[in-house]
Symmetry: C2
Subunit: 121 residues, 2 copies
């Protein structure tokens, strides 16, 4: 039997190298509170920390931390304005994440197509 080549070997891995870059974006999206913040921000424009905290059951500090995580992932950015700090949604990185999921879905479809054509022979 020919020794099965490992699918995760360096060579094979480099083909998918674009994907791993978006792991931090997904990680930032992988929290209910942060998803809620994103949803609110992308619907309502620039909001202050106090505004974003009102109506939640967590502390302002917790919200600040979540916003920082989102900012590190490039999903939001802040605008200093007087004694307030307004936060705004940033769509660029989200598009990256969308393209990543599209890539995966495409590869899956291709694999299915290949499998199908092999079965038809």
């Amino acid at each position: 039997m020919s020794p099965r080549t490992s699918p995760l070997a360096k060579g094979a891995r480099s083909k998918h190298s674009g994907l791993q870059k978006s792991a931090p974006i997904f990680a930032a999206l992988g929290d209910e509170t942060r998803l809620r913040l994103i949803a609110v921000l992308c619907a309502g424009g620039a909001l202050s920390i106090a505004q974003l905290t009102a109506g939640t059951d967590i502390t302002r500090q917790a919200v600040t931390k979540h916003l920082q995580v989102l900012a590190d992932a490039g999903l939001v950015h802040d605008i200093r304005q007087g004694r307030e700090r307004l936060w705004e949604f940033e769509p660029t990185r989200l598009e990256e994440a969308r393209r990543s999921l599209d890539t995966i879905a495409q590869q899956w479809d291709q694999a299915l197509t290949r499998l199908k054509s092999m079965l038809e022979q």
Copy 2:
């Protein structure tokens, strides 16, 4: 001044309720190793734990744990076969995640459109 209603209040939140459901999926995707596993699985069909471990610098146990996380999120499933346990990609939940990102992007576009039309008046 009318008291600014909190954007995260229960009423406003229920409008976006579909989103929070996909937080666990994003969390599962939010790790480089797991993204790599997904990429390999969606390209190569069903693979065993040993195969998935070969070529990585982490332990078989670590891979097992990652696969379990992906399975909990519904992104992969396993097939017992003899002494092996084959893992396969499951596209359903990934589609959910895609739709979530689409929803966010849509809402952002709508917000921009509204803003634009307000500025034009």
